[in-house]
């Protein structure tokens, strides 16, 4: 039981970080980036390429994260521009269409180049006892990286001047413009951050199980569920939701079976929405 819970927490932290990348972009301009999971896969494939070329793992990981980030910035500066020129419902719909198109494009490209591509990140070292439960080194590394990234994010958004500027755009775009903050610049930064997070999650998740070229859509769906449960635009909400869903996921896999987990996850998400329509910490 304790072991299942710990596994759930490890998985949940990953879910949380995955959700953060999606929820930030949504909070900042109402766009649900359906290409989000594909950015993660893209990053993973770059990691795998650089690693196979003989580079050390850390360098390969940095290259993958950078690649996902660069792809996100490219998206923001090109196809997202017309989206952000719209407002309200038009922006939401056009955003869905455009990012869905990009998702198909990236998925198609990766499938064509390397249909069997997969990233496995091997972390050496034996299990370490945590609360009397032997935890694999990979889980410890993944969780440590995730927590570190989460802490940096919380400090960046909560306690720096630029972080405050970003939150001001989330709360009132016109107000932000009136004090001299450029919404489009902050959006580019957040898009970059979101891409980097996608890449990072790809690396940490590949530490425990291989990430394949075909998993982009799954990642996007998980991120969506976390975002909805956590409350759109909330970083701490995303982490809470991630933990909750991670624990639900491992419990249901343990007691019922792996095949049921996605349904249970969606059920949990639906239930949250019924009880708290704005998500756990939504505004």
């Amino acid at each position: 039981m304790k072991a299942v819970l710990l596994d759930g927490i490890v998985l949940g932290l990953g879910f949380g970080l995955l959700g953060v990348g999606l929820t930030l972009v949504y909070g900042l301009g109402g766009v649900l980036n359906l290409a989000y999971g594909e950015l993660a896969v893209l990053g993973a494939m770059v990691v795998s390429l650089v690693k196979d070329a003989g580079a050390p793992l850390a360098l390969a990981a940095v290259a993958g994260v950078a690649a996902a980030m660069a792809a996100a910035v490219l998206l923001d500066l090109t196809v997202m521009r017309p989206v952000y020129r719209q407002s309200g419902e038009h922006r939401v719909l056009l955003g869905l269409l455009v990012t869905l198109g990009v998702a198909f494009l990236i998925e198609g490209l990766l499938n064509w180049r390397d249909p069997l591509g997969a990233l496995t990140v091997d972390i050496g070292g034996g299990p370490i006892g945590i609360f009397g439960v032997p935890m694999p080194m990979s889980s410890i590394w993944a969780s440590a990286i995730t927590l570190g990234a989460g802490a940096i994010l919380v400090v960046f958004l909560g306690a720096t001047t630029f972080g405050r500027a970003i939150r001001s755009v989330m709360q009132d775009e016109v107000g932000a413009r009136l004090v001299g903050i450029s919404p489009s610049f902050t959006r580019t930064v957040i898009f970059a951050l979101s891409g980097a997070l996608a890449g990072l999650v790809a690396v940490t998740s590949a530490m425990s199980s291989p990430l394949t070229v075909t998993q982009g859509f799954d990642l996007t769906s998980f991120a969506l569920i976390v975002t909805v449960v956590g409350g759109l635009g909330s970083v701490t909400g995303a982490f809470l939701a991630g933990l909750l869903l991670g624990i639900v996921d491992t419990l249901s896999a343990y007691y019922v079976g792996q095949y049921i987990t996605s349904v249970v996850l969606l059920g949990a998400a639906g239930l949250t929405i019924l009880i708290r329509p704005r998500g756990l910490l939504g505004r």
């Binding site: 001047t161 709360q171 009132d172 016109v174 107000g175 009136l178 004090v179």
Partner: protein
């Protein structure tokens, strides 16, 4: 601004506007509902594109600049809807006014001097404040940008008459500090009481202009806006 026009969806709402505000002056734009005051303000600060004419501040052309760059050039606009950051504290709202710089000490003193209430409520969330307090905060935040020109759109919106008068007393004191002001207001007597000069806007065009005193004694203005038969 010169010969400016603006509107929505290609439809001009205000047209042929020649408007001048000199340094240290308080200028009022008066006009009834729908005259186009807000549209005019939005065009000046770049929230709406100018469809004709130019907007110039101290010889610098701001006509095609986007709103955040107009703000950085020294034009602060306080919209009637205020557009505060509701989930942030009074303090953070004021600090964001100064963005990207650190808040200027003297400006902060000036804001607290004008609105002591803000100093008492530094930790309160902006969204939970009363309408009058939010108006103070909106003006305070705008002042923190250290503007050369401060534009107030109907600063009395939603305020009880007594509070509205207090708001204009604050405007009066602001003017005494040498701030250059452009104020849109439906309550013409209040507006003319602080303004040096005023423009009367009707159906998107400047109908009359003159010193506050001239307009106060103008029979047409008295009939239409001052409720004098």
């Amino acid at each position: 601004m010169k010969g400016a026009a603006a509107g929505y969806l290609g439809q001009k709402v205000v047209e042929d506007i020649d408007l001048e505000v000199r340094t240290g002056e308080a200028v009022a734009i008066v006009g009834s509902n729908g005259a186009g005051k807000t549209t005019l303000f939005r065009a000046i600060v770049g929230l709406l594109p100018c469809m004709a004419g130019r907007v110039i501040l101290d010889g610098v052309d701001l006509t095609r600049r986007r709103a955040h760059r107009v703000a950085r050039a020294g034009v602060a606009y306080v919209p009637a809807e205020r557009h505060l950051f509701p989930a942030m504290t009074v303090k953070t709202n004021l600090m964001l006014g100064a963005y990207p710089h650190r808040p200027n000490r003297e400006t902060l003193e000036l804001v607290f001097d004008l609105f002591p209430r803000l100093k008492e409520r530094l930790g309160q969330q902006a969204g939970t404040m009363s309408g009058g307090e939010q108006q103070m905060l909106a003006v305070g935040r705008a002042l923190m940008t250290q503007p050369k020109l401060l534009m107030l759109d109907e600063p009395t919106t939603g305020l009880a008459p007594k509070v509205a008068k207090a708001a204009f007393e604050a405007v009066e004191r602001l003017k005494a500090t040498g701030m250059t002001l452009l104020i849109a207001e439906q309550q013409v007597p209040l507006a003319l009481s602080v303004a040096d000069r005023a423009y009367v806007l009707e159906n998107g065009r400047v109908r009359m202009e003159g010193t506050a005193e001239e307009l106060e004694h103008n029979p047409e203005v008295r009939r239409a806006y001052l409720g004098v038969a």
